[in-house]
Symmetry: C2
Subunit: 327 residues, 2 copies
């Protein structure tokens, strides 16, 4: 298996990418190869600091780089030699089995859609993010790709999230829930009420009904389905609140050793543990990382990509969504 | 000024209500009177524990009580002798200037709408909640009353929140923002993009543009405008995350005295400090408290009610919304 890693994605690129790739190679199965896609000179210089490229690590030159200011939809046309376009083309052509990048989220999404194409039965691919909870990660889908959603889109998200939670997160029978403002089926907006009705009759899903905002942190479900507007507001809010409280906690400790329980909390709220957000519903594995990802986050994103490839997640997604189409 | 306080609202009623009312009378201006509305025998028995009713405190008998299982819209018809209906009638008839209750949110909203009526120019009254941030409270409107909103509703919320932040929260020139998934005016759902255009041209508002989920905790605005679906999910999520982390923090301290900074955090995240959520856009002052409110929260809600009455908040709301109607 070969994973293409955008070497120019993070704010500090290529340093975290190179360090993360080297870490990953030590921990992932021996058949995993990584291709660092980026400005070859810069990547090789960074590799030299670690004693050069080990076996199973190669470099593919991509002289251009996508900037935050580049309009996402135009990147594929205007920056064909950028690390994002070159890396995704490699995946599209079959020379790589997955793509991982910490570059511009919009550009990765747009270019993934263009190169990998939506899967049959998927109207709108969605970004899924793992939220830390007291009982393990909860997959929030959609967390920002689609702001105006119809019920059938939300049902597709449910299937995509279900397959990902099973295949990449290792949840045997994912509890899929609809994020709402009340537990009763008749609560919520028109779209959400209709979606509840569809999900309740949907085959191939363990739908546990509505959950409220307060249930997420308690780990009430494995997959929380919502539109990209609600998901994005919630995700950004959570990151900032958790970050704020954790920094206060650390300041309060003032160098004292935290209890085991607190260590665990720090780990729970450390997004680097979670390894990137997959774009689900496209014909490939495309994982989006934070622009501030440290090596550990890159390493974990590569691990998630490897699990997604190994488990045949894309094939299962097609099956999940088309089971729906027949129902 | 006279405030009607539902004595039967909290889960432990009438204990927190009686204690909160007594606290409030010690701190509020000398012209504030409180009417405890509820089962007279129970209320008087509770008062007796505190040495009986002091001056400026009276009891109005309301033999019936609204239960969580009562359909909100039917309460006014089916439970005319309940503390919620009797208290709001008192306000409607002018014998009280405000109403405060920790009872069923749905029943308070529905009965307030029926008795106090929406203000001229207000299509949909909204519930506003104060979220703790590092830089003082942020008013989230709507936090649950209206799930499907049109742009004109959101613009009305902006005016109602603006007046409340000024009059009841004491913010000189409230920074009003639209909660969105990006800062740019063209970002977001169709409704939000259109709302942004309206707010940008709106007179009588200090509109600072879009804010994202991550900006709230940093205190980027005084009033955050959103529909009741997003607001409710966010509010419940926040309460649970903050509650979870604060409880962990306290456990970690294990009896040690927290630093001043941490004391401050505990205070920031203590909803009892904030004194209830007003239903804005009706012809009166109706404040909704948590069902688990301790005396301090009841006290603060009474203080908020007094400030709203004193500042002529309702009159200013009419002016704010009708300035809009003319524009």
């Amino acid at each position: 298996m070969r994973i293409a890693l955008d070497a120019m994605g993070t704010d500090l690129a290529p340093e975290p990418e190179v360090a993360g790739a080297l870490q990953a190679l030590q921990h992932l199965d021996a058949d995993v190869e990584i291709v660092l896609v980026g400005e070859e000179k810069a990547v090789r210089a960074e590799l030299a600091k670690h004693g050069g490229a080990p076996p199973r690590l190669s470099v593919l030159h991509a002289p251009d780089r996508v900037l935050a200011s580049d309009p996402p939809a135009s990147v594929i046309r205007r920056k064909p030699d950028s690390s994002i376009v070159v890396g995704l083309r490699l995946h599209q052509e079959g020379a790589a089995d997955a793509f991982v990048s910490a570059g511009s989220t919009g550009a990765i999404m747009a270019t993934s859609l263009f190169t990998l194409r939506p899967l049959p039965g998927v109207d709108r691919p969605a970004v899924a993010t793992t939220l830390p909870t007291v009982a393990g990660p909860c997959l929030l889908i959609d967390s920002g790709a689609n702001v105006d959603c119809k019920p059938q889109h939300l049902v597709q998200f449910a299937h995509l999230g279900n397959v990902y939670a099973h295949d990449a997160m290792g949840v045997e029978k994912p509890r899929v829930a609809l994020l709402n403002i009340g537990e009763e089926p008749e609560k919520g907006s028109e779209v959400i009420v209709e979606t509840h009705g569809l999900l309740a009759r949907e085959a191939g899903l363990h739908f546990i009904g509505n959950i409220e905002g307060r249930d997420i942190i308690l780990g009430a479900c494995d997959v929380a389905v919502c539109d990209g507007f609600v998901g994005n507001v919630l995700l950004k809010f959570y990151e900032s609140v958790a970050g704020f409280l954790v920094s206060l906690l650390k300041a309060e400790l003032a160098g004292r050793r935290p209890s085991e329980k607190l260590e665990n909390v720090f780990r729970v709220f450390d997004y680097a543990e979670y390894g990137g957000a997959p774009l689900l519903g496209v014909g490939g594995v495309s994982i989006i990382c934070h622009g501030e990802s440290p090596p550990k986050a890159i390493h974990n994103a590569l691990a998630v990509a490897a699990r997604s490839v190994r488990s045949d997640m894309v094939k299962h997604s097609v099956r999940g969504v088309s089971a729906r189409a027949k129902a």
